[in-house]
Symmetry: C2
Amino acid sequence: MNKHYEQLLPYLERNHAYQAALALFSWDAETLAPISASEYTAKYVGILSEEAYHILICDEVKELLHKLSSKKEYDSLTVSEQAIVRLLQKEYDKMSCIPAKEYREFSELCAAAHPIYCRAKQTGKFEDFAPTLEKLIDYTRRFASYRAKNGESLYNILLNDYEEGFTTEVLDDFFSKVREAIVPLLKKVTEKNNTIDKSYNISFYPVDIQSGFCRFLSGYLGFDFNRGVIAESEHPFTTSLHNHDVRITNHYYSDNLESSMFSAIHETGHALYEMGVDDSITGTPAGSGISMGMHESQSRFYENMIGRSKDFWIPLFPKLKETYPEELEQVSLDDFIAGINKAEPGLIRTEADELTYPLHILIRYELEKDIFEGNCNIADLPKLWAKKYEEYLGVTPDNDGEGILQDIHWALASFGYFPSYAIGSAIAAQLYDYLAQRMPLSDYLKEGNLVPVREYLRDHIHKYGASYPTNELLKQVTGEEFNPDYYIRYLTEKYTTLYHL
Amino acid sequence: MNKHYEQLLPYLERNHAYQAALALFSWDAETLAPISASEYTAKYVGILSEEAYHILICDEVKELLHKLSSKKEYDSLTVSEQAIVRLLQKEYDKMSCIPAKEYREFSELCAAAHPIYCRAKQTGKFEDFAPTLEKLIDYTRRFASYRAKNGESLYNILLNDYEEGFTTEVLDDFFSKVREAIVPLLKKVTEKNNTIDKSYNISFYPVDIQSGFCRFLSGYLGFDFNRGVIAESEHPFTTSLHNHDVRITNHYYSDNLESSMFSAIHETGHALYEMGVDDSITGTPAGSGISMGMHESQSRFYENMIGRSKDFWIPLFPKLKETYPEELEQVSLDDFIAGINKAEPGLIRTEADELTYPLHILIRYELEKDIFEGNCNIADLPKLWAKKYEEYLGVTPDNDGEGILQDIHWALASFGYFPSYAIGSAIAAQLYDYLAQRMPLSDYLKEGNLVPVREYLRDHIHKYGASYPTNELLKQVTGEEFNPDYYIRYLTEKYTTLYHL
């Protein structure tokens, strides 16, 4: 092993001890911690976050990274080691160029922004949040400008933080395809929406029975209960302390059958990624999924391509009917498949179906791009929002709480994050197309055999963690970099068939 | 505020951030973490423990403690500040006198001892653990000797770590009273044991119903669900991240009614202590109960003096019967009170009733004293154990797993810890005697009003955390230092009455 790389390891391990503790605090806060604990616990979490930061952002690490960046040294590293050095350098550059004083002010602004955002969302008044948002944008712009080289666009710098290589050039192409294909398709679908009856979905489905069935579903997909746990929280999520401790949550609504089942499948998709990371890189900067988009591709692949397919439910639907014999008595497998795939334009992203989902993201992308390219006033955002929702989805929010304020990301200064959601769906479709050619996927699903697909994804994607950038990994697996055409074709064919268009 | 004390605060706060994280990891390991996680997580816990240690055991803290130890500076501090300085100095002296190399070797020995102990317990063979125990004792002896002043006895140094001021002189007096009063009393009780029928206790009591009733009991006693949570684990315990996040666990056996109810009451007693600590000292070395004995006094006060009294069950027994109408149909309140107080000599400490419990502790005390005063060979311990169990309790273990190996404490090198269990019971009796004179306790219990006793304990004990040593606190509350006579009298009167002796 390269000796400078070896000297770097204790820093990585120490840092990850803190990351594991912070992940556990965060998990605990969402799933269990008593309500009055947060104020006190926040202080300790703040201290540990700061200590974790200083372990990596220090002169010793800077020096080691510098030595490892020479061609000779870098070339002597393994692929995973190179990735670790690269990712650490990226984080180092991002953080170290911000003056400590500005970063502290920014952290305080973020902390203050949270309750302001929550109140504004509740009262539905964007104007109450706008001054804070303006400041958050200013800081984000300034911090990005510290890293801008040769007139690089600030929004591209932000996008690159979440998804390396997915510039506005790539995304403009992607989202224009989405807009051109999906907006007219959705109009046709909406006209025929009364052809699908999914009234069965709204009935009384006891929470403990849902919980049992969802646990079964996770195990069916390959969730390893020796290396993971499932709990409840307000919103479903996945977290990981390391590859032997991966945790998912769910939320059960007693009047909704679908919601928890597809959350379980979605989060299990994320969990399989984290559980599949190789032991040799867990607990390092390469020891987790490469990007938010790639992660989302795994969850959506399982949720949509697998979990909403008829093949998948052929062996499972009888068990579902046994579980809810009265509620589903009159429902056939075909009714159920139509129901779980029904598309309905709505206002809320997190409740959107597979077809309307990318339109919600498209709108955020267009607005974020306008903001960071200086093409709009913050005060005008709700008007722009309403116009785009009317145009693309045919719906208009009554207030900003169900409009531009519905998602917390901007209040966390997470600008450039949203596109990953749609990138994930598109990658899922690309992988699905490839896998369906690579193996008898349909037969496997009908037999209830999820092993081949899970092992394929583990051996070709999961085990590498963040060792390869998204596009490089995609090319290794499918022979092709990101190509949104698969996604457009997948949605078009699926919904044309489903609605007999 | 004293400026050196002020300089000490950031060290305390940083250290407590780690302590909170470690408490959370430990809680999580016992209640939820997946089975395969431990190997990986242990590494991170080790790193955080070491970092926490270095925050307090460092030259800067040493220097500040030195400055604060001058009479002038010390006198300028508040009572809690003085306690914090005193406790920190005690910890500092204990740790800093051990050469780093020896401490590392000792830590490695402890880690290795755990599986050796577990295997020996399982096979019931003390001889497999004896060589390791011998080494653990040697290290403990050596570390204690570094602190010994003027020929102080090593066992007294160990006892002082757990319970300040409770030397062998105090404990010899205490335990000889226990032996002289309880051993003959137990013989008489055992002869009349068939007069109490508690067969109702062994029936089918569904776990989820037990869990609901126990939750109700905790709330009834004043457990604040905004500041605490209840979960399940193999053995019930209490932990605390700070005074706004106090957690208890329970274990439900579907064939045992009593077990979980009295665990709930016991752990709630511990929790009320931690929840009652004043906000001004939480997260400092004084921010938790003063000692293991004082803590145990609170849990046993609630479990035994309150929870096993007829007065307590007068308002509750109808609800218990409603909860288990068939199982308890033939059981009267008096049958139930006799049942939950029935004494039966047994081999296992953790399953012991109120009367036999101190005899288990007495035996450990006598053996520990012999060990550290050099009066016995390690190899002879099982024989000595059997002799004492026969003499005091009239029972003999079939193997060492249910004998000397039943408790893990020695494998953790926790020598001097056991006496605290009996000290706790005795303090509980002393407090009970005082409170029963101080307030109409019996009436309150019959009315189902637990508020006055809870508030009294909070205002006179809990809020101070570890600000006062046990004896000083006891004197403040009851006007008297530790006095085991109350305990002896309490047990004698209770069991004489119960068994009509």
